[in-house]
Amino acid sequence: MSALPESLPPADPAALQLDRALQLLQQSGRDALPGAPGSAAWLQAVIDGLCEISSRDALTGLSNRRAFEAALNREIDRVARSGEPALLLMLDIDHFKRVNDHHGHIVGDQVICAVAECLAECVRPMDLPARIGGEEFAVILPNCPPAFGQTVAERIRQRIEQKVITAGLSLRLGITVSVGGAYAPQWVRSTPALWTERADLQLYRAKSEGRNRTCLEPTPVSNVSAEEKGLLFGTTMPGDLE
């Protein structure tokens, strides 16, 4: 954490124009602030609240594009050094324009919120689901072994496929998503642009292969079998395998 230079005099809270900030916090239900107005704790809470608002998508409450890009950069740094497998999933609601055209934007928004909910339910607390565009979502999954990637992506797709969205009195909608995914190259420093491009390519493949499916970029797995490991670590003797 970098602190401000100590030579700077502390700002006088009374001189700050906080009306808009407080309005925003109130609007997003974050106006329960600790401490006396103007105190350091109170000001910190105002700032934290604004940071929170600026990293959330207003409609769904998921991380927004800004927070997603920051997280993507952090994950690339981590993966480059640790070599941990990290998966990036890109999701797009199938035929979303039809929903908007046939049922209106309010229903469209409900569909988007329903997808966001499913997404949040299907991932681990350490994962970062985000809404990065109109009907586009992304999930960063740190430390996700290649064997699990397809399972997670498929779980998300199925959860959304099974979800029934009710709107108005009698409208019941089913929707599907296409999912594309790519792993950050291990031990190599990628860039956000390259990584998202590779995941996007898989999303494009999922769309062009008929939608409502998941496509993950194949990974160069180091295929060391359990027998090989057994012999390597001396848990099996060569004779056992004869």
Binding site: A80, R81, S82, G83, P185, Q186, W187, V188, R189, S190, T191, L194, P220, S222, N223, V224, S225, E227, E228, K229, L231, L232, F233, G234, P238, L241
Partner: protein, 271 residues
């Protein structure tokens, strides 16, 4: 010993060319990251200098250069500047502490983490230009089996695999050995075991690896794959202290067990 160094004036410190295709090219690689590969490369280079070789270390870890961190160097001109045509190759060659030279990738190399035909050609060109000037070029490659790593290793005459006794390091080293044998036709690979806690552990590990190779890799090859044990480096406080000081262990703790072990590896590689 100079702790801080910047690029020398062009050509001034670069050894003169003699003959063609002179340098022996040794790739230093590891299945797993964080096993001390770059630390080994730098200190091994210094040890080879003491054996009378003119040595260049090429930071071939294009996506994740940290040779500059290990050596406390602040390059003004890097391979990136050469690849982008801003500077001549000779200007990017830096004298490092320990009497060897380095070619650093620079952080701008990020975009080269994807191996394009241009990057392939440029790497080959760099090596061809440097080869007549040195006796040895150490390619400090990245970890893992990405296409960049496999390609840079493919440019080498010999491969030194660095592993530690830790299970994930051994598994990844084995995976690398397997890939190099099957995709590059390597039949001789050198193995250096870093961070051993007892004398002889390195040889035992070589034996274990060789046993698995004999059983699972060699049958699919036309000729057996041989792992040559070139030495072990013990866990040693000198290593940690040298890393912390950002100095060569061979210079700040020449009498340490780990430094002696690196010298023994250099002897083995030059004999």
């Amino acid at each position: 010993m100079s702790a801080v160094s910047s690029n020398p004036s062009p050509m001034s410190e670069l050894p003169a060319a003699s003959g063609t295709r002179r340098a022996r090219i040794t790739a230093v690689t590891s299945g797993k990251g964080g096993v001390g590969k770059t630390f080994v490369s730098a200190n091994l280079a210094a040890a080879l200098v003491r054996r009378g070789e003119k040595v260049l270390v090429l930071d071939a870890d294009l996506g994740l250069a940290n040779l500059d961190v290990v050596l406390n160097l602040f390059p003004k001109i890097t391979l990136h500047d050469v690849f982008t045509g801003k500077h001549k190759l000779e200007e990017a060659v830096m004298a490092a502490p320990g009497g060897f030279h380095v070619l650093l990738a620079g952080s701008g190399m990020v975009e080269y983490s994807r191996l394009t035909p241009e990057v392939r050609d440029q790497l080959v060109d760099v090596i061809q230009q440097m080869r007549p000037r040195f006796d040895r070029i150490l390619l400090d490659t990245g970890a893992g089996i990405s296409d960049v790593v496999l390609y840079t290793v493919s440019l080498a005459d010999e491969v030194l695999v660095v592993a530690t006794p830790e299970p994930t390091s051994l598994t990844d080293a084995y995976a690398t050995i397997k890939v190099l044998a099957t995709t590059q036709g390597r039949r001789d690979l050198k193995l250096l075991v870093n961070q051993v806690t007892q004398t002889g552990e390195g040889r035992t590990i070589r034996g274990q690896l060789q046993q698995v190779v004999d059983r699972y890799v060699t049958p699919s090859l036309e000729a057996p794959l041989k792992l040559e044990f070139v030495g072990e480096i013990p866990v040693d406080a000198a290593v940690r202290d040298a890393v912390r000081r950002r100095q060569l262990m061979l210079e700040c703790f020449p009498g340490s067990a780990a430094a002696q072990a690196v010298l023994a590896v250099a002897t083995r590689l030059t004999s």
